[in-house]
């Protein structure tokens, strides 16, 4: 009598609901422990769901395309002889319950005082894009006809089969269709604008919705203060060019220098590497740095772990890998949470300086501007130098201005004497 409940998993701190992208097993399929049974779209990434027990997938309660709050029973795995009637009866009324309830409960909106995880706030935000995407399919009730191989390739390459036109018999999607779609991975998902219309409503993508929900939870309750400093990047720039001229060495970016400098400075200023936890301040002994990566429809902050213990070259390799996989939506869940500090760099957009919003429960975030060539005056007179502005946003409940300033001063010193980054 081993009945295994399949529930909508909580895959990140911020996750409140998830959408079943598709079931990889169908009712009646035999499941081995560890089999991938479904794919779930969360705020930040598409994630494969493993079965934690063996048996037959007896019932699917939340079909592909629908959204359910975390913890919702979405399927049942049991042996054919097992009685699952009671379990099914205890499930929320019907599969569509989550999205059906959504519009009503949404009116309560988000109240900052409410602890996010305990409030059942189902589906509201994500149900809109779900409906919009469904509209792209040629109105065939959500069932996508695709060959098993096409499905496998789609799952591996992240192609959304609902957006693929099948060329097989009866419109079946076959391998060549998925491969063609994968190679031209087009942003065709947005509804086309009507010519001449004054505006269009673009439904929030799940990632946009997550940002919309999360940012007020930061900016309003977290008292931000900002400290800005200008760093002379002449020597850092020169060092980087020398390092990048070395054959067989990974390419180092300015951001990699900043990550390394912050990691070292966080070790000497643990008060900045800290988080408010109710009535205590939790000071972290390891520097897990979140690196903001811009995407088409939002931004995502994969976490580079243990930066304090990693040499510059390793930071360069790993941060590039994280950024690439972030853009391809291939991040693993554990790479999306657990940062103790974050860095947001808009240098590539020719930005003088800016300030960032803290990503709770972290205590601070560093905003990095462009490295600009500017006139500078030194002992010998007027010359041309490279300068970069750093602005740290700090949670005033965790630290004070002086603490933030001292941290920033150290980061500046490390970048201006960049050999320190190598030792």
């Amino acid at each position: 009598m081993a009945v295994t409940k399949v529930v909508m998993p909580k895959l990140s701190e911020a996750m409140e609901s998830g959408k079943v992208i598709k079931w990889l097993k169908k009712e009646g399929d035999r499941i081995q422990g560890g089999d991938i049974v479904a794919e779930v779209e969360t705020d930040k990434a598409d994630v494969e769901m493993e079965a934690f027990g063996a048996g037959v997938l007896r019932k699917i309660l939340v079909p592909a395309g629908e959204t359910a709050p975390i913890g919702t029973l979405i399927g049942v795995i049991a042996e054919p002889g097992d009685d699952i009637a009671a379990l099914l009866a205890s499930a929320p009324a019907g599969a569509g319950a989550a999205s059906a309830v959504a519009p009503a409960s949404r009116s309560a909106t988000v109240t900052p005082s409410a602890p996010p995880a305990s409030v059942m706030r189902p589906a509201a935000v994500t149900s809109a894009p779900a409906a919009a995407v469904a509209g792209v399919v040629q109105g065939q009730g959500g069932r996508v006809k695709a060959s098993p191989l096409a499905k496998k390739i789609a799952a591996q390459t992240g192609v959304d089969l609902r957006l693929v036109q099948g060329s097989g018999p009866g419109g079946r999607i076959i391998r060549r269709d998925v491969e063609a779609a994968g190679s031209s991975a087009a942003p065709a998902a947005m509804p086309a604008a009507v010519a001449g219309a004054e505006f269009e409503d673009i439904p929030l993508s799940p990632i946009r919705a997550a940002i919309a929900r999360r940012m007020p939870l930061s900016k309003a309750p977290v008292p931000h203060f900002y400290v800005t400093s200008e760093v002379a990047m002449d020597r850092g720039w020169e060092l980087r060019e020398q390092l990048n001229a070395l054959e067989g060495q990974p390419k180092i970016s300015v951001n990699d220098l900043v990550i390394r400098a912050c990691a070292l400075a966080l070790m000497t200023h643990p008060g900045v590497n800290a988080s408010l936890q109710g009535d205590a301040i939790r000071v972290f002994h390891r520097a897990h740095i979140g690196i903001a990566v811009a995407l088409e429809d939002g931004l995502i902050t994969p976490v580079l772990r243990d930066c304090h213990a990693k040499p510059l070259a390793r930071i360069a390799v790993e941060s590039r890998d994280l950024a690439e996989r972030a853009r391809n939506r291939k991040l693993r869940v554990q790479e999306l949470s657990g940062a103790t500090f974050s860095i947001s760099n808009l240098g590539m957009f020719d930005v003088t300086e800016f300030s960032a919003i803290i990503n709770p429960p972290e205590g601070a975030i560093l905003a990095v501007g462009s490295v600009r060539r500017v006139p500078v005056v030194d002992d010998t007179g007027l010359g041309v130098g490279r300068r970069m502005a750093l602005t740290i946003s700090c949670d005033h409940r965790v630290m004070d201005g002086a603490m933030g300033a001292r941290f920033l001063q150290d980061v500046k010193r490390l970048l201006e004497e960049p050999l320190r980054l190598l030792v």
């Binding site: 060959s147 098993p148 191989l149 496998k152 060329s167 097989g168 018999p169 076959i174 060549r176």
Partner: protein, 329 residues
Amino acid sequence: MSVMTYREALNLALREEMRRDPRVFVIGEEVGLYEGAYKVTQGLLKEFGAQRVVDTPIAESGFTGVGIGAAMVGLRPVVEMMTFNFALLALDQIVNSAAKMHYMSGGQFNVPIVIRGPGGPAAQLAAQHSQSMETYFYHVPGLKVVRPTTPMDAKGLLKASIRDDNPVIFIESETLYSVKGEVPDDPEFLIPLGKAVVRREGTDITVIAYMGMMYRAMEAAEELEKEGISVELVDPRTLRPMDTETIINSVRKTHRVVIVEAGAGFAGMGSEISAFVTEQAFDDLDAPVERVTGANAPMPYARNLEKLKTPSKDKILAAIRRVCNMNGG
């Protein structure tokens, strides 16, 4: 390596095994003085004498039973069915005695017998003499079932069958007896039972066939090569035990499958192959498995109807194009 007919290859296999092992003997209708209805036992009486080449009355159940008894006490009989259609008369001996004796005696007796002869659709032999007989046997646990497509296979598989300690149903074909091919001269040349062979390498589709259908599939494959479809041809050679591994590996490569069989299809070899391909390689399939089979009817005598009943090259071509989505659909 010598070039010889399929018939000569079988004859050579029998001759070599009878020379090698005095326990091997041949028994059946017209196998001695007449030298076999299809001349497979030609010259054996002269070389080995009447004690080892035994002519029998027209009594399939009786001489098959004699063979099974002889095998149980240590001989290695090769029982010839003049055609396999007549083996139905010996079905009880084959299914209930030969196949089950080892099991029911708790391993005290094994039955190293080979029952061989031609079977399968032939040319204008009509309903009762032109049918796929392997279906009656490969369902039975305890039997091995062999269908050799080429002269080389005929020799190597017959010799391996004679040396096997289990009952082997070895079904040849009237229409292949005169096919010529290279055959190794080595008297120790054996082809292990249960091993399929890839007769032609390809990348777009796996076509599984044996006996006459393999020759037809080969023609189809060569024609399709010109259209840019690369066909891999797999011949199971032994139907039971089936070499699923070779077939699955091919499916994993090509992702598409067509099975060609001469029989009437329902519960045929294609059904079985299709089932295990779907079970073991479902996620590798890009199209449903398709079967090209004989029509669901007794074999007509009339030549034009016989042609309609049998899988033709055109039907094979159409199926392959369909599975490869080359029909614009």
